[in-house]
Symmetry: C2
Subunit: 259 residues, 2 copies
Amino acid sequence: MCELLGMSANVPTDICFSFTGLIQRGGNTGPHRDGWGIAFYEGKGFRTFKDPDPSYKSKIAELVQHYPIKSRSVISHVRQANRGGISLENTHPFTREIWGRYWTYAHNGQLSGYENLSSGHFKPVGETDSENVFCWLLHEIEQNYAEKQENMTEVFRFIARCCDRLRSLGVFNMLFSDGDYVMAYCTSNLHWITRRAPFGHASLIDEDVTVDFQKETTPNDVVTVIATHPLTHNETWSKMQPGEYCVFHLGEMLTCNSN
Amino acid sequence: MCELLGMSANVPTDICFSFTGLIQRGGNTGPHRDGWGIAFYEGKGFRTFKDPDPSYKSKIAELVQHYPIKSRSVISHVRQANRGGISLENTHPFTREIWGRYWTYAHNGQLSGYENLSSGHFKPVGETDSENVFCWLLHEIEQNYAEKQENMTEVFRFIARCCDRLRSLGVFNMLFSDGDYVMAYCTSNLHWITRRAPFGHASLIDEDVTVDFQKETTPNDVVTVIATHPLTHNETWSKMQPGEYCVFHLGEMLTCNSN
């Protein structure tokens, strides 16, 4: 399948440490060698790096790993192709605009029977089930909310209801962000951890790398990392339940509900 | 203002040489230090590198300069901000989807009186005149053509008519691509050159770099490069006329018309 990585933080934070763990799973410690991508929000803008080649030996992944891009909201993905060939247009994350905001999405899983979901003017470019249902989700959001809502919690509750429909079509773990909020929806595997003071050491599972977050942070930093499987072996990650969704904002959990 | 760089080629070709010249103009040999970006199409997919920092000292630009990404259609831009602050969301090129294809656009110039152009569901994310009129152009295309046309020359003629309207609002030099075609519209400064066998040497104006294209190509390669100002001093570039538009496909000029 694939693996997901997301981050929500209250100060612009780099994701070099977690990304170093993830990209090993893209062909080295894991089988997800069919492309990778990462989107960083900075203000209302974003930048995405992606590659249809395996992440563990990608020159571009190496740059991202060593060049600290600081962001409050990040979504990343390493791919093991099932539906749709290995190509740039099938590489996650995907980004589209609604309400004058960029929405970014990545999916882990496989769906059947999604072909008849209407996506309005949002047309998929590639052939993946993932991009198809992303277009459908955006269409549903745009049909139900003509503009950004004051109460975004309600919008994410609506998105979770849409995800419940997709859950009936197969495995649907996903990350979704408008740059301010990062939403996680789980049907099988998603874990998260919130780091805050007092910060400690963390050691990656997939690489021999340890970081002392105390040295990298200030006492008020709050950073949540979401991943398909825990990335560190000396911290306690929370496992999400099937049908559960969580919304994070500035590193803090806003809501977390089973459906 | 800004500078534009585009490429259309019949085989996947890297743009390292031309990009090396362009990025010097982003703060070193030119004043365009307010960000830069480049989009490469590969099949129906694309990848964009962008940075709100000056290109001539950008780590990411350095990667793009030295890591040959091969593409048939490329659009790049170095920015000198006029409308809209220095930020990632105001950094060109911009990409949006219509008809299940990604369209990429970059603009050089400044417009007035564009605020009332209706862009339908395409909402600008940043504050630039450039992105505003990109959204309007996409809306016009989508309103007039429900899907990809067999005769794309007609679509580009329609786009050129829309650009004529924008020309009345100020300076509007732009590059526009759906991945297959690269269109250039000129109101003041745009130059192009088509390189084909027999290939020769070329020397950059902005850097002490010379390339022997004979060594980098095969005899059937056809590569057109479009730039605000010529990038080499020992080749003959064609200067576009005000109101002229050209459409390139697989390196060859399809059409070039003054309005």
